[in-house]
Symmetry: D2
Subunit: 470 residues, 4 copies
Amino acid sequence: MTSPQSGKAPARIGFWRRLVGLAAPHAGPRRAVGRRAWSGLRTLLAELAEGKGGESLARERVARLIGHYTALDTPERRRFFTLLEADFEVEEARVMASIEAYRGADGPARVRSRASLLQSLESPRLRILSQFKLVPEGVHALVSMRADLLKLAPEGAFAGLDQDFLRVFSAWFDIGFLELKRIGWSSPAALLEKLIRYEAVHEIKSWSDLRNRLDSDRRCYAFFHPRMPDEPLIFVEVALVRSLADNVQALLDEQAPTLDPATATTAIFYSISNAQAGLRGVSMGECLIKRVVQLLMQEFPRLRQFATLSPLPGFGAWLDARLADGAESQKWPAALAAQLAGGAMRSPAEALRHLMRQIIDGDRPEDPALKAWLTRECAAYLLREKKRAEPLDPVARFHFSNGASLGRINWLADPSRHGVQQSFGLMVNYLYTLREIDANHRAFAETGRLAAAPEISKLIDGVARPARPA
Amino acid sequence: MTSPQSGKAPARIGFWRRLVGLAAPHAGPRRAVGRRAWSGLRTLLAELAEGKGGESLARERVARLIGHYTALDTPERRRFFTLLEADFEVEEARVMASIEAYRGADGPARVRSRASLLQSLESPRLRILSQFKLVPEGVHALVSMRADLLKLAPEGAFAGLDQDFLRVFSAWFDIGFLELKRIGWSSPAALLEKLIRYEAVHEIKSWSDLRNRLDSDRRCYAFFHPRMPDEPLIFVEVALVRSLADNVQALLDEQAPTLDPATATTAIFYSISNAQAGLRGVSMGECLIKRVVQLLMQEFPRLRQFATLSPLPGFGAWLDARLADGAESQKWPAALAAQLAGGAMRSPAEALRHLMRQIIDGDRPEDPALKAWLTRECAAYLLREKKRAEPLDPVARFHFSNGASLGRINWLADPSRHGVQQSFGLMVNYLYTLREIDANHRAFAETGRLAAAPEISKLIDGVARPARPA
Amino acid sequence: MTSPQSGKAPARIGFWRRLVGLAAPHAGPRRAVGRRAWSGLRTLLAELAEGKGGESLARERVARLIGHYTALDTPERRRFFTLLEADFEVEEARVMASIEAYRGADGPARVRSRASLLQSLESPRLRILSQFKLVPEGVHALVSMRADLLKLAPEGAFAGLDQDFLRVFSAWFDIGFLELKRIGWSSPAALLEKLIRYEAVHEIKSWSDLRNRLDSDRRCYAFFHPRMPDEPLIFVEVALVRSLADNVQALLDEQAPTLDPATATTAIFYSISNAQAGLRGVSMGECLIKRVVQLLMQEFPRLRQFATLSPLPGFGAWLDARLADGAESQKWPAALAAQLAGGAMRSPAEALRHLMRQIIDGDRPEDPALKAWLTRECAAYLLREKKRAEPLDPVARFHFSNGASLGRINWLADPSRHGVQQSFGLMVNYLYTLREIDANHRAFAETGRLAAAPEISKLIDGVARPARPA
Amino acid sequence: MTSPQSGKAPARIGFWRRLVGLAAPHAGPRRAVGRRAWSGLRTLLAELAEGKGGESLARERVARLIGHYTALDTPERRRFFTLLEADFEVEEARVMASIEAYRGADGPARVRSRASLLQSLESPRLRILSQFKLVPEGVHALVSMRADLLKLAPEGAFAGLDQDFLRVFSAWFDIGFLELKRIGWSSPAALLEKLIRYEAVHEIKSWSDLRNRLDSDRRCYAFFHPRMPDEPLIFVEVALVRSLADNVQALLDEQAPTLDPATATTAIFYSISNAQAGLRGVSMGECLIKRVVQLLMQEFPRLRQFATLSPLPGFGAWLDARLADGAESQKWPAALAAQLAGGAMRSPAEALRHLMRQIIDGDRPEDPALKAWLTRECAAYLLREKKRAEPLDPVARFHFSNGASLGRINWLADPSRHGVQQSFGLMVNYLYTLREIDANHRAFAETGRLAAAPEISKLIDGVARPARPA
């Protein structure tokens, strides 16, 4: 399995070794996996694909397979994936025969031949993967295996294998069978530790930072799978506040007083993280947000507003390119031009970040012109820039497609080094307004329309669509 | 839903009414479901099939659909199934187009087109059914709906719809996701009551009978689905004894002393019942038996033998036909011939049952010749009679295909009226001998061989296969 | 232990035997407990009383003591209690010395000497009993032991021992540490079975009767001790209805329709039973009723009235005596006089019951004069008859002292054979009116006043107090 | 309540305010509690002492009392305790009368009069305190209240009140009703945080330090009270190792490899902490150690040795005094004499600690003479120094009285600054050898004998008892 959490690897290996009686640990000096071993592995895979001998035999085989896999090193894992991709593919001849039978059939025979066709489209590989659920840790093991695949695979490689992974996972991780649980300071430390590890938006710096995020005016919810009860799949962090939050550092300030949550009017979703790399492409975020909105409305009837405080992961790079390109440089704010004229800066992007840093640090007064220009650029980035007809920014894409609207662009919202690097300190609020979600969602799906507050829309009205930076 | 348990129906309807705000109860004088209502139902189904609007909308729609369905009477339910069968079928044009695309594609394009082909083979109906899991009681509701279908459907009708039910259920009720639980006298009365209702082999006559079956020298295990926690899916009853049981009434005798289970050497699986009519065709029995064998071996290391005490559901009818036919009448035992000569009996079958009853009631001494003849007939029935190359007797088919062997034929094993009617009082032990199960299973699957104890096999050795009764 | 539940005794003994390695079972042919055994038992008691050697040793001793006790037969148990009463009594010399020290002490010395005095008043026996809690089943074992004592003890015997039992139990079964739990049809069958066994007011006739008492418009609550989680201590059965219930057979009718409990206005406490004979004198009933009233008010805000439907356990015997005595025979109703004149009856009481039976069975029309007379007699019985300044009727005593008022006398309320025998079919409603409970309670405690509805009070106004039947 | 955990105080106050509707918070600028408030408080106490009005009224009163108390500042709390001490004392007149009655009584009357005497010895205050259990948080509140009392009370003050606290607590916190639970990394963070706060022997420096102490080769167990489920009462930390540990820093080293606990032979109890200041004097430690020994023996049958690695809290001060005194200075090791001759040191104690520091830091070679002298002094301190006939050292006293023996004196066992200050870096192992515990315990209790390994005993054989430092 992947071991980003190297500290736990020995324990996990210990588990598999106990389970399968493996002699060889994963770590330490590796002996080459000999030809005999590969031949044994192939036989094992073939047996699993054929499925002879009932469930208890299958269980034992899966355990052996996981043990084998765990002991492989990186090149061997790649070879293992290649084996699965190449040798356990759908049998085309059988598919073609089923297709012929299907075309000829009618009435009840068509129903039966449809079942045969469906079956012929199931690769032997799919049967192998789908049996991982038979052992207690098998679901987790398969998720970790796909995480390995995604890390090792060149773009576009192993397409058939990955399709089968996704086919298995979309059945297993069906939203209808996941459990939504609240995580709090009374949750097991072993689970909280994983929040620290998996948080992908705003790093959790310490246990005290974490505790603050689980205080009485905060909420954290995660989806769990019944067979991976110790592993959050995706989690969201929410702050209960009295007005639309415009600064994430203020939200995360451990010294800030705790609000009586019963008096909150606004719920800010300030972080949402996928916890399992192996589940990429299995969509859970939209549903998580909507379910949490419902739970919060029940618990706090005074809540009126649900919004995110979101990063702009692509804005920095996009504007960097525009600046390098000199696009619309005639509109650049005076301060930026002055800074560049000074000559000490290597690039406009560097100059701009330097300006922001100075303002944040109080070494330079607020600059309304700079703010207006940057805000306009940001609006253009969010509402105009597309990739295959969808918003270029991945976070924007996620929220717009869920039916959210762009509510506000916040200046100096993330003054951290990372925030300035990523998006010149800007963050945005996406609003989840209950009575508009469905209409927004439909408009987006059908016409690509992006819902935004009028004051943001008008910033780019009449402005020609900016030329796409090369 | 089906309401075999009419006592609970009001509560259930109450639930759906609360859930969906339905005004009309199922029971009571029915108003015709008007044209408008059917049109609304069709629209609802279409919306579910299209799946627009996210999960919370889908959840609400499923709840409404269940409410609608619950209020239908029997003819309306048949019409509802007809609607699903006819109007939400796979779109053949799309399938054909996908097939064409698939045949032309190659490399990565083939992987993609395979996914499209698969998707085109999913009927809109399948999408409707698979969304039932979104509401808490939806899984149970869908199982009940299929139970209705099986009850209403003429043989072979609704084949496409039923195929989709099975496709959904085989994903949901995958053995890997079921929970095996022990049921005992400390289980909720509401659950135990269901054992009484669902027991299909040896009727549970009272709470005191049930309590006896859950005593310290008895075990009962069932599979449960996490979303139907109050409903056993299939359950097995086991007696821990000191020798191969040959009489089921002795096992069920409430007055019999309780054995210290730690001293038991033999586990008798004397009853296995499918509890959900709607899950017909979803195979769980083999796995249940094997898992229980493993659990028992762990709990009682002294157990040496695992066997059933099984009924012969088809033996009575089979032998009735042979007797009526006069087949091999020269071999009939003297007592039967004498009885018939007496002239009071209408048929050989009646005469034979009368003889058995007299022996059971002690009105006639044991009759070794009768016993030998009947045992031989039984052996022939079990080991020779086939239907499509498999054993004619359904219980025999089940156990032989699981890898069991025929261990013993028990004379006077079920002396109840039902036992004499069904199989002239005979019952058999199938043995689950751990080190032979796989070999038996394979031999059965590959060559059709039926494993049997030598003393039974030799009863029919050299005997020509009996002519099949007409 | 007592074994009213003889079916379970072997299992329990098995438990103790496992625990303590006892060879001899309680049941079966008894060998005399020899002199050596009694001497060993006395040593064991002495060691427990001295308490040397730490907790683990004490635990082992208690287990051995329970094992010993379990194996004793009835005469031996009496001897065992005699041993405890006589040989493990408070040491009077030490008490007297402590008293002297206490009288002489002052300031801090007095505090210390008070502690010594207290300690000297703890009998060695008390130390023995209080250590039973050290083993898991010890609390239950001690309760059962006192049940034995109460059964075996002549009135007034073993006063010191029983005082120590009560002292231990009033600490252990402090209301503050008991758990109030709802019992329903989803409770374990093993627990429900105990309701059937322990119900003391209206016999539970079958599982189906029980199920009806646990339906959605019924409630059952019990107190439990954390160390006896499978044993209810006291339980109450409540019916949620729309008006003051006047007939218990109607409440218990399994065919009666189930009410939507949300529409109920009245909660009828129709049965309250102490489940543990060994806890006689440990008061829990008042508190149970008040807690259940609070719970019901929370669950059903529309409830307006809390009342009992109570038996009159002493009314039959009291009126029998008055009738035999001929007291106020000039006021007897005409029907009774006529019946007696007929001469077929042996006594007025028999005649009266015969009349009631006829009315109940519909063989005789309602008789307003009879009803008025009997109701007045009943009012006099309840409100006038005293024993040591408290109501003679034990149920009346219980409810009046809790602050209830007498609300209504119900004619033909318990038409069962037992009801006619016990109270000529009459039952009464005691009302728990929240805003009056405390005042009633205080008036009763301070002045002995019995609260009653005006229409009942006036029945006996101006009537001289009936002479007490001999 | 005490609020050492000031971070949580607001939440707790919030709880009481919600519970009791108090307007005034504890913190913030205080308004004087006026005469009226004190009079109200006194009335409330009197009502509780009298106990009129049933349990629900009592519950409400306790909640109000807790609310009142919570709002008091420190001087007011002292006044509150004074009120309880002075005005709710045992009524001496009633005691004297009961004594007279008792002396005169005989037979059953004596049993009754003993009950009266006992009751007269219960102060009204005791009745007040014992009702705290009626509210959910009351048990915890009373423990916190006594913690306040111990902090505020001059030695010997409030003796009567404190006696009543102890009387209540010894009933509530009876070992027989406490729950022993394992604490691990899967325990709630909110609980683990309390270990960090309460650890009294070896400070827990970080969450990572804590995690290391809960690793697979470590164990932590605590006693809990069912009514304070989130508060450990006392906890012990155990290391599973392969030989008698002689260095606590090695045990706590986060980098040290993790042992497979199944291969451990020795369990080291390296820390035991009382978590509740308010439970001082309620003995739980001995029982905790013995229960944990039993649990460990069950889990790890290969364990052969149970020992502590214990600090010497009084050794530093004791030896400081001896050094200052010049006692036996002719035996001082050469290095110490040389150091003092150097003249830079202000005292022999300072010189000795300086030497130890140098050895620990590797700035000076090992010094066998110094080691031998210091070890002998330590042996003398532990085995000879007494206070009221018991060992002077409190930790030694605890373990000797539990039946442990002194197994080894470890040089350089706690090289931390605190370790050198407290005991010149020395620590000791007390051994819990199962087959000797009872004999040791008895010898200690009866003759005061201290069990010690022969090699330690002989260090002080023939040596005159050192003169007690002034």
